[in-house]
Homo-oligomer: 214 residues x 2
Amino acid sequence: MQLAAHPHQPDYSPRQNDVLDSALRLLVDGGEKALTTAGVARAANCSKESLYKWFGDRDGLLSAMIGFQASKVRTFDDTAETLTAETLQEHLVLFARDLLEVLAGDVSLALNRLAIGQASRDGSKLGSMLQERGRRQIGKRAGALLEAGRYAGLLVFEDRDDAYDTLYGLIVSDLHLRMLLGEDSGRMAKDFGRRAEKAVSAFLRLYGSEKSSA
Amino acid sequence: MQLAAHPHQPDYSPRQNDVLDSALRLLVDGGEKALTTAGVARAANCSKESLYKWFGDRDGLLSAMIGFQASKVRTFDDTAETLTAETLQEHLVLFARDLLEVLAGDVSLALNRLAIGQASRDGSKLGSMLQERGRRQIGKRAGALLEAGRYAGLLVFEDRDDAYDTLYGLIVSDLHLRMLLGEDSGRMAKDFGRRAEKAVSAFLRLYGSEKSSA
DNA sequence: GGCGAACCGTACCGTACGGTACTGTTATTG
DNA sequence: CAATAACAGTACCGTACGGTACGGTTCGCC
């Protein structure tokens, strides 16, 4: 496994982005086994030689796919409006729903499966890369929200990471793993709204100030 | 993928159990890629022909490995003593620590990675098998504990599965996934005790009756 | 027009793996 | 002791895949 020498978003050409798109679709449809270099070349109407020229290696292709996908789902920063108990709850529920929907996405599931499959061998660069660009990014959004809630006197906590960890667990529990194991994610997607509300409700019971439970 | 025709624990011979043990060790050490039929045969000092005679198929071998491992970590039932606030809390913390240690186990991680890798193709029988024999089993223990707590008036909840889902999320959060992605599990193992206590504390704040917060 | 770079399509190579067949060896049974 | 079954060890086969090389085509540039 050899990641790109320049870790700072290599920013591929449009043509190469199209290829990465095809590769991702291939991965989603057929799993890692279907992601052969010949298959990618055929699906993207490019030559294997170009694949190796652009990405150097099959592992380089995988890394590029992860980076490419991560760059597409950039987390948007929440508006820094002044929070009330209601808006904080709304923002938290919105965050929870977004999180669940991202985790349940076809591409997200496929990439996580891919990275987990590679985690045993080599230094598992893919895993840390997914972790870094995936959860860490979305975690920033949650962290900002939590800090804003604390600043407004609506939340009480000492360690922000602990609070976020709790929030994450309440929202996701083992749902992500179950989906990764193949449990039908489409069937349970309809409950995301309800699940998000329950998780946020519990979180506010744990970390909300008296002021927030008006 | 073809599971055994008789799903009720085929119960292999001692010799075959030894082979499955070798295969598990091989899987733990080298990941799925290292789990070749020739490798298993070499590690277990048996012939490939015997492997195919006993397990029929590579997938049959994988299923057998999961069933074999699941049969080894059977969940023990908790003593049905009368619960007090203190003993309930102790039992919950014990459960949490056991859960974390099981999830962080080498073999558990390797098998989960294996099942997740297979989840994309075929009907993902391995995934549901792991789910059934893994979480469902340990969930029974938690369910009994929760029911006992409710019976003793220490816990208040309507849906036991919801309560267990919350407890699970508080204990594990995304720790399991991070370990599956390759984050060093040994380094974080020392925090399991503290993590278990915090999770149970939060759970009791959510679901404990006034009687329990004495 | 001529030239070179980029690139597609394909053929090709080496290897690794799943699965099968064969041979020799041990051990059990009548 | 003879016969049979089980099994280890190994050789073998077909295939699939990662990676490379090469001919042909398009496109931009002088």
